[in-house]
């Protein structure tokens, strides 16, 4: 009987092979028994239908066999997931708005209808991306989260020594900190990446001469475009770091190690980009010199600026790492 097979399939389809076979065999025997015991005057088909309806929704029966419900994102993380999702989507929408606003300044003959359409499609695809990536990250967390399962199992053997140490204010992370960082990072990167994709020529120095606008690009556009995926990687890593902080809400060992690792990676990636000589428009200093006139050594000054950018960037990030080492490793050890 096809209905019976279809019902059994619906119950067992998500089980591993061995279990599947056993459940199939047993369920089939039980269903046949139930049909046989039905002594009413119904014909066979009607009996089958009654029995299957009595067994009820195959998904629920499957959950009963499993003994637990399955989740894409379970109740442990769901609230947190919603919070992060709202922040990320809001930040992406904000970032895209600013990016398009800036872009419209660099577009001659603004066509409101076109910009409006581009705005809507960008917002839509940006929000979808934000949704997809956030969800994927959480699905991975959910799948790998043995911590929650271990904790649940260990709940029985509890003693006083397992009480958590009262959080020290210095090692705590106020929720506002990672949220502000996520919003700032997302706005900055969506503006930056937005311009990078739609109007990379906008990264330039502008002079007005005799009513004419002169634009001197800072970067070599071809090389700059080649780094697009790097910037996106740096962006996602930075967001991931804040999400981890948002989850732990204190500088414990795990959070500290994650953060140090991510800062190290993003710093190295950024340094590779910044110190790539071909990235910078090689004609830039000469062109500027032409515009400003006078005996000022602009090329030397420009090289200094570039070196200072690198130096400040390194100092800020190394400082960040040192502060995490202090809070997350040194202070935590001392408090214990």
């Amino acid at each position: 009987m096809e209905l019976i097979d279809r019902y059994i399939y619906a119950v067992t389809k998500s089980f591993p092979k061995k279990q599947k076979f056993e459940i199939e065999k047993e369920l089939k025997a039980n269903i046949e028994d139930m049909i046989e015991q039905n002594k009413s005057n119904d014909n066979y088909e009607e009996k089958v239908e009654k029995v299957l309806l009595e067994l009820g929704d195959p998904e629920i029966v499957a959950d009963n066999y499993r003994g637990s419900k399955r989740f894409l994102i379970g109740p442990v993380y769901y609230e947190f997931y919603l919070m992060v999702l709202k922040i990320v989507i809001a930040a992406v929408v904000g970032g895209i708005s600013i990016a398009l606003f800036i872009k419209s300044f660099f577009t001659a003959n603004i066509d409101i209808a076109n910009i409006g359409l581009e705005y809507l499609t960008s917002i839509f695809s940006g929000a979808m991306q934000a949704f997809a990536w956030t969800t994927i990250v959480f699905i991975i967390i959910e799948r790998n989260d043995n911590k929650v399962k271990d904790e649940l199992q260990e709940k029985g053997n509890w003693d006083l020594s397992k009480l958590p140490i009262l959080p020290n204010k210095k090692t705590q992370i106020p929720v506002s900190e990672p949220i502000a960082a996520i919003i700032f990072t997302t706005i900055f990167f969506s503006v930056f990446i937005g311009i990078l994709y739609s109007a990379p020529q906008a990264f330039a120095v502008y002079f007005e001469k005799a009513g004419e606008m002169i634009r001197i690009p800072i970067f070599d556009l071809v090389v700059l475009k080649g780094y697009r995926s790097w910037f996106i990687a740096i962006f996602f890593l930075s967001i991931l770091k804040e999400i981890i902080s948002l989850y732990y809400r204190k500088w414990n060992l795990k959070n500290s190690l994650f953060s140090i690792l991510i800062i190290t990676i993003t710093t190295i990636l950024t340094l590779i980009i910044l110190t790539d000589n071909s990235l910078w428009n090689k004609d830039f200093p000469a062109e500027i010199l032409k515009q400003i006139q006078g005996g000022f050594d602009f090329p030397g000054f420009w090289l200094n600026i570039r070196n200072w950018i690198v130096a400040i960037f390194v100092i800020v990030n190394v400082g960040g790492i040192l502060s995490i080492i202090y809070k997350g490793i040194y202070l935590n050890k001392k408090l214990k």
Partner: protein
């Protein structure tokens, strides 16, 4: 709360109350081997109604916990999986029964006090 909501809440609580007793009622009938459907009928006769869609998976889970043991009877025309209490299961069942009787006494006292 309106009538309808009262009914919904009541049904949920009643279901929860019954759910707690399902395992004990199932174990009580498995001193002798039973297969899935015969157990449904047996419990029904004794006034405990349990949905087959709940019972069959429950038997399997109890077997996994080694409270029940099972045997495929392939002699008769149709193969059937018979379940009965394991040695550990019998001990657990006995202890649960002791608790049950204590609980009945306590509950009765508590409820009668308020009446």
């Amino acid at each position: 709360m309106n009538e309808e909501n009262i009914q919904i809440v009541y049904n949920n609580l009643l279901q929860e109350l019954r759910r707690g007793n399902i395992i004990l009622s199932v174990l009580s009938q498995l001193l002798e081997p039973q297969y899935g459907y015969s157990l449904v009928v047996l419990l029904e006769e004794k006034g405990i109604s349990i949905e087959p869609g709940t019972l069959y998976p429950l038997l399997r889970r109890l077997e996994k916990q080694d409270i029940l043991e099972s045997n495929w009877d392939t002699d008769s025309s149709k193969p059937r999986k018979y379940y009965s209490l394991s040695i550990a299961g019998k001990q657990i069942y006995k202890n649960l029964c002791t608790e049950w009787f204590k609980m009945v006494v306590s509950m009765e006292n508590i409820i009668k006090d308020k009446e």
